[in-house]
Assembly symmetry: C2
Homo-oligomer: 262 residues x 2
Amino acid sequence: METTIPSETVFLPVQGGRASEDIALKLEAAILDGRLTPGERLPSEREMQVQFGTGRGVVREAIQVLKQKGLLEVRKGAKGGAYVRRLEVANVSESLALFLKQRPVEKEQLIEFRESMDQTITLLAIARATPAEKTRLLEEAERFAGLLRKPEPDLALAGEVDRQLNIMLARMARSPLFEWVMQALQLGLSSHDYALYENPLYRERAALNWRDTALSIADNEPLRALSYIGRHYGLLRQCVVETQDLPAEPEAPLFTDVDLPS
Amino acid sequence: METTIPSETVFLPVQGGRASEDIALKLEAAILDGRLTPGERLPSEREMQVQFGTGRGVVREAIQVLKQKGLLEVRKGAKGGAYVRRLEVANVSESLALFLKQRPVEKEQLIEFRESMDQTITLLAIARATPAEKTRLLEEAERFAGLLRKPEPDLALAGEVDRQLNIMLARMARSPLFEWVMQALQLGLSSHDYALYENPLYRERAALNWRDTALSIADNEPLRALSYIGRHYGLLRQCVVETQDLPAEPEAPLFTDVDLPS
DNA sequence: TGGCAGCTAATGGTCGTACCATTAATTGTA
DNA sequence: TACAATTAATGGTACGACCATTAGCTGCCA
């Protein structure tokens, strides 16, 4: 970056010289600095093959990588090709979820992280959100409590509402970074942590606690809100230690023929 | 694709039928549920080409995707091939960093977020890191201060050391999630906030402040540490308002020939 | 016997061509 | 005018060939 000539090669020796990586990096750089903008269409593979002076396979591999990163979307047929995409939080979540799948993190660490984020977000939300937003949050929390008070609550729906509550709160904090990280967590942990609501004992207490938190926020009472948040995660911790993980599903045969688009 | 056995296809219609995606999914599933474990070697491309009943290009594209996800590492030459890898926090951070790169955020919001993370991480590090780690951190901070005290400091090196300091601290917190976010910030924002060290006025103060922070951590003095962190970000804010963004670097020509491994 | 040079084979990386499948636009026809 | 058939552009796949790299083997030489 600073030495002009050797800059690119010094930066990334790319382990063994791979043309496809070079191309991927060039395209990625072009997308990130705006030379290629979302919605725009890249040249066709056959054109790029010529423009980069390589074989088509190399171009395809580069495109595959960027597609996997979420930077490109590939359509086939006439007017097909690689289109630049705007990244979504879901891409980050996917990556996080993958990581958590291969390296199960202690639940305690997840809880700890979320609790910390929640505390900060709540303080920011109290300071910055409009009264209307606060009222809306309270309404949703009441609705949530209502859902879980039923004898046979729809747990999937409840989980979704809980997620929405968290995201709404994050948005009220007026900080995109907190919002994004929170969303990524919510999406990436969908399977993980809603054990709290499966247990009827904790269920109602947790729901009421959410409502009280929302109430404290609406009343601009930060300390009270933090207290309720602490109680929420206390419940969650208590619930988690009582719950054990179940073993995984049976294994499928690997290396069988792929279904071809016949 | 969907006519024979509905089971797999119901899960993921995979937009338009792509053999390479099928293979990638199968391999990924095998890795995630333990049929393939880290360090293990997959069959060679030519073997898989036969076992999956497809062309070699398809197999290569699947491998590329998994490699990009961080699940595989490819070595060439004899005894080469695709080896299963353990995911690292850096992989997730990379994804988040990429996302952040595509979405410009206000500097103040970045600072705010980092400050909040730093506070929490510091408290955790004080509580959990070993004395040896704390000593090491202090040594690095001293080295950092030494670097910036020179009349003509190497700013690139200083930035790198600063980055390492932050990551070291995050690791000391014993929380992969905090490590994740912190690394992502370091990766995605490297160019952003090292303006602090370009200004000789702030430079030395910031460096000394880092050292004092490390000292407080080594002494297990959380409140003092938080105080220094507050001062650090105070300096950063002050510095940022005085600095204006420079226009971007000149654009490089896209679609030029790739350097081939001649 | 020991060590080093050179050979060998396995394997990923690249190229090129050919063909198929899909899709939007065009053209032709009722 | 509406609908059907054709066309052309484009991604998806297959196959075969060759190069570059690398670990291990072979064998010569000191």
